[in-house]
């Protein structure tokens, strides 16, 4: 990834934020789109983090929503239990994000140890299984708080928490968490996107990131030059999980209720679609694909019943177009006409570099 590209990513994201803020203050943003802003930010962080596992490390993970779920629930629990101790929202929000990221990171580490011994399809299937396991565990989890602190109970019901008078149930099994104070704002979401981009882009362009990409390109060669396979696989996987956890907290703090069922296999696949559509290893692509695909169903509202059908067709068309050489060449010619040729030539020379 070239330097110009990096600035392009940061620049566009910041520009998009400013434009949307201006539009909002001018009252030109519909309320449905306004409601989508935080989820878009959360999904962008999800897609960028999953791209680290799928695109950069090269291992297909189908359980990314599991880490989002862990981040969502632990983050909200942290947020709700700190409500009285720490009334200002900004530090409480940041601490919740960190708690969510930390728990998801630890889960990523524990799951990564057995999972990353596998390769290819096997790894994908096992991550899928772990994603479902996480969902089901949280489904059976009861957490409450009273003056003595947090109470945990598993596979029972909320009475088993033995809460004192005045204690509140936070996680109520399959009913999830209700009565969340919405802390997430578009600005917080935007900040998290920037942090995630900063971490992932800088990681990729450093010693550790090179080692991770080396594992993707050729594991045997990487071992032969002394690169510790397990260490770097885990590093990518844990970083990816922790970011997903932070995204989960951001996502959950945008709703008043949240249940484990929200973070199911479909969510994992949805994020994977963002990544694949944006291009494996292409962070810039992930951001665009996520934004477009989250907004698209809203824009297709006028098709009513046929909404999801049109969505699927658009998806297929985009996939076909981005994988079609003729289409790509036409697009390139078009770009050539618009942008002076000198710029393109130089860019091609450095990226393709055939001699």
């Amino acid at each position: 990834m070239k330097k110009n590209n990096i600035f392009l990513i940061y620049g566009t994201v910041i520009a998009a934020y400013i434009i949307i803020q201006l539009l909002m203050s001018a009252g030109a943003v519909t309320s449905s789109l306004r409601g989508q802003l935080v989820p878009i930010c959360a999904y962008i962080v999800m897609a960028v983090s999953l791209n680290l596992t799928v695109g950069v490390l090269g291992e297909l993970s189908l359980g990314h929503a599991g880490f989002m779920s862990i981040g969502a629930f632990t983050g909200v629990v942290a947020c709700m239990s700190l409500e009285s101790a720490l009334p200002p929202t900004l530090p409480r929000f940041v601490i919740s994000l960190l708690v969510g990221a930390a728990f998801a990171g630890v889960a990523g580490f524990l799951i990564g140890i057995p999972v990353l011994r596998l390769n290819g399809d096997y790894l994908a299937i096992v991550t899928l299984a772990f994603g479902e396991i996480i969902k089901n565990i949280i489904n059976c989890l009861y957490v409450g708080i009273d003056s003595r602190g947090l109470h945990l109970s598993f596979l029972t019901n909320s009475d088993a928490l033995n809460l004192e008078e005045g204690g509140t149930v936070i996680i109520n099994g399959p009913m999830g968490i209700a009565g969340i104070t919405k802390l997430s704002t578009f600005t917080f979401g935007f900040a998290l996107v920037l942090v995630a981009l900063f971490i992932v882009l800088n990681l990729i362009r450093s010693r550790a990131g090179r080692a991770i990409m080396a594992l993707r390109d050729n594991r045997i060669a990487a071992e032969s030059i002394g690169i510790n396979v397990t260490k770097y696989k885990l590093m990518a996987f844990v970083t990816s999980s922790a970011l997903a956890g932070a995204a989960g907290t951001l996502f959950a703090l945008n709703y008043s209720t949240i249940t484990a069922a929200k973070f199911n296999f479909n969510t994992s696949i949805l994020v994977l679609v963002f990544v694949v559509l944006g291009g494996l290893g292409n962070i810039w692509g992930s951001i665009i694909a996520t934004t477009v695909l989250v907004i698209l169903p809203e824009l297709l509202r006028e098709f009513n019943d046929y909404r999801m059908l049109v969505y699927a067709i658009v998806l297929i068309l985009v996939m076909l177009a981005t994988n079609n050489a003729t289409f790509k060449n036409t697009l390139r010619e078009l770009v050539n006409k618009i942008i002076p040729e000198k710029l393109i030539k130089r860019k091609e020379g450095t990226t393709d570099g055939n001699s």
Partner: protein, 283 residues
């Protein structure tokens, strides 16, 4: 292509039955294999393999296809765990080491079918070779602390220096997978050299090269040995290259050593001729 004129090196025995060049005899061989063997199921792939490589020797491992040459490389780098025998690297047994540890202990290799990091730039490939030479942590990299800039600058300089051995600096920003075939082979050697090895294993370095490229490669292999003062063991089918630069040659057939010696000894060995060309019909 003419074989360059050069004085033949006298090979002398080390304590075991192994031989190394006379100039290296006062030091322990860099690598010594004793009675090495590996079975795959019932198949004996390599058996009774004894070999020593002197500190600054360019040694050759030759033999017909399927003789077990690459298997020997895989044993030396612990891709395979030997069934029998031992390998001493610099006097240390590598029995319990992994591939990664063997590399850190001083063996670097190239591959018969090129294994570059094709999507990364040429410079990044070399920097990956320097991975364990120039070190900084993950967070130093993410937060772009001073250690990052210092180490990356050092890596860049070192990578360019190494690329200059094969005159490849101009390719530095190219994608490794897009290089011409010969350049990819050279890049693999540069990447292996970057790990600062004391023994370099080259698996068919001249495969797919034209005669002028091969001649250039021969010069460069000798130059690498002279610059870095390391030992080189190479597998090669190009006899001009093998006879031209190797000092000790080991001939393998059906997993067993059939001959060992200097190029001229090997060229006149009846068993070697038989292995390559078949037996003369009697009568």
């Amino acid at each position: 292509m003419a074989t360059p004129e050069r004085p033949e090196v006298k090979l002398v025995p080390v304590p075991s039955t192994n031989i190394i060049p006379e100039r290296d005899v006062d030091k322990e061989p860099i690598l010594e294999a004793r009675n090495l063997g590996i079975d795959f199921g019932g198949l004996v792939a390599v058996d009774k393999f004894d070999m020593a490589i002197g500190r600054t020797e360019i040694a050759g491992l030759i033999g017909p296809n399927g003789a077990g040459k690459t298997t020997v490389f895989n044993l030396f780098t612990k891709v395979y765990q030997p069934t029998r025998g031992s390998i001493l690297l610099d006097g240390r047994d590598i029995q319990n080491m992994t591939t990664v540890q063997v590399n850190r202990a001083g063996i670097a290799r190239t591959f018969q079918n090129i294994r570059l990091f094709g999507n990364l730039s040429v410079e990044d490939n070399v920097k990956l070779g320097l991975h364990n030479q120039i070190n900084y942590g993950m967070w130093t990299g993410i937060l772009r602390l001073p250690g990052y800039w210092k180490s990356e600058k050092l890596m860049h300089e070192r990578a360019m220096e190494l690329l200059s051995i094969f005159d490849m600096q101009r390719y530095a920003s190219h994608r490794a997978g897009s290089l011409p075939y010969g350049a990819q082979r050279r890049l693999e050697i540069v990447r292996a050299l970057a790990t600062n090895p004391s023994l370099l294993l080259l698996d068919e370095p001249a495969a797919g090269m034209n005669p002028s490229e091969t001649a250039e490669l021969m010069k460069n292999i000798v130059k690498v040995r002279d610059t870095f003062k390391i030992a080189i063991l190479l597998i090669e089918h190009d006899m001009n290259l093998v006879m031209g630069i190797c000092e000790g040659i080991c001939v393998l057939n059906f997993g067993k050593i059939i001959a060992k010696g200097t190029p001229s000894q090997i060229q006149n060995n009846p068993e070697v001729i038989e292995a390559y060309l078949g037996k003369k019909k009697e009568g």
